[in-house]
Symmetry: C2
Subunit: 229 residues, 2 copies
């Protein structure tokens, strides 16, 4: 019998690698993305290209009025995205933090997983580069798993939906090495917090800089398209 998994696909490097890992593990893959009023809507185009190129059985884009809630530079046009090439990449909770985002995304994935009778949910959270985000830590994921086991009909019947976080302890270089081995086309992915209208990366924000460092440390060519290339 085939195993099914819901994979949260943002359009970025991490979630593309996560999808490739789920596929390698033999899961029938169902990709899920969110249209939540993010400023960089081009990431949904990336998510679509990635999901299609990796042969998912379905790609669902759920509309979500998260922008109404505000409180983050990624959804609120009144908060500037930091572009600080001279500064250290911050390990504090950044202003790009979206309130309860992973909790909301995992909850919706849980709903779809229950409908699909899926065995697992894959999410590309990473505790190495995103130590400032509370909802990227292993103890958070464990608590979500415990809650999910109690939340669903499947859980009550003893069939657990496993929350899988294959990247959680990997460096960016290790993620890129894994994905490259699995054939991920990183030119289709977008990590930048403020890309231009053609989906080209700024090369200056924290997310771009982490990605650049990752390719350098992995000794692999960086296929990213930059706006000032």
């Amino acid at each position: 019998m085939t195993k099914k998994a819901v994979i949260l696909v943002s359009g970025g490097l991490d979630s593309a690698t996560t999808l490739a890992i789920a596929k390698e593990q033999g899961y029938d893959c169902y990709a899920m993305s969110f249209n939540y009023g993010q400023r960089h809507m081009v990431e949904l185009q990336s998510a679509h290209m990635i999901a299609e190129s990796m042969g998912v059985l379905s790609h669902k884009v759920v509309k979500l009025g998260l922008g109404d809630i505000g409180g983050s530079a990624l959804t609120d046009n009144n908060i500037a995205v930091p572009q600080n090439p001279e500064q250290e990449i911050s390990t504090d909770i950044p202003v790009t933090y979206v309130p309860a985002r992973n909790t909301v995304f995992l909850s919706l994935a849980l709903g779809w997983a229950e409908v699909l009778d899926a065995d697992a949910i894959f999410i590309g959270v990473n505790a190495v580069d995103y130590s400032g985000y509370p909802d990227c830590r292993p103890e958070y994921i464990e608590a979500f798993q415990t809650m999910a086991n109690l939340a669903t009909k499947k859980g009550v019947e003893g069939q657990l939906i496993k929350i899988e976080t294959p990247l959680i302890n990997l460096t960016k270089a290790e993620i890129i090495q894994n994905g490259t081995r699995l054939g991920v086309d990183y030119s289709k992915t977008l990590s930048c917090y403020s890309p231009d209208e053609k989906g080209r990366a700024c090369g200056l924000c924290d997310s771009c800089r982490l990605r650049q460092q990752g390719f350098a440390e992995a000794n692999l060519p960086d296929p990213t398209l930059y706006s000032e290339g």
Copy 2:
């Protein structure tokens, strides 16, 4: 200093009572509802009337593509809502169960609570009448609380957002007695799973029958408008 709370308001009897209890406890109240493709859209009108009449500081209706996910008679037009006046009210997990609904709603409330710097989230779950719903049980709420403490910036900084469930162990009659004492106008609330276009209740579905029994056992007049009245 004033305390703030986010209250999940569906338009039904339970959440209206929950809002009245939060107000009585001295909270500044922020009401949150969801437009999730539910078939009974008139419940959002009830939610609006209730929130307004109880003087909330803000009422946010978040759009949510939950209907895309399907799997429930409340969002999927291909599954019939049971109308079985001759039968026992079921204690199995009913077909009206929406996958992971309370988890999704609480997660979005958690995001808003974090932005508002709120102290609590109130949800009108009830383990007496809804024993068939896994996400109405106390052990589920406790697990959500543990997860929420780990999920948020506030939690990491030691300021917990308390998940309050004042109705969880009350019978329907006790809920109605409490709300009546607090001045809730139940004629503004809607519990029916399949109301007519004017928002009048069917009087036949499980939810209508629970409500009717509740008013009868509380020895209070039932102000509900029924379509076959």
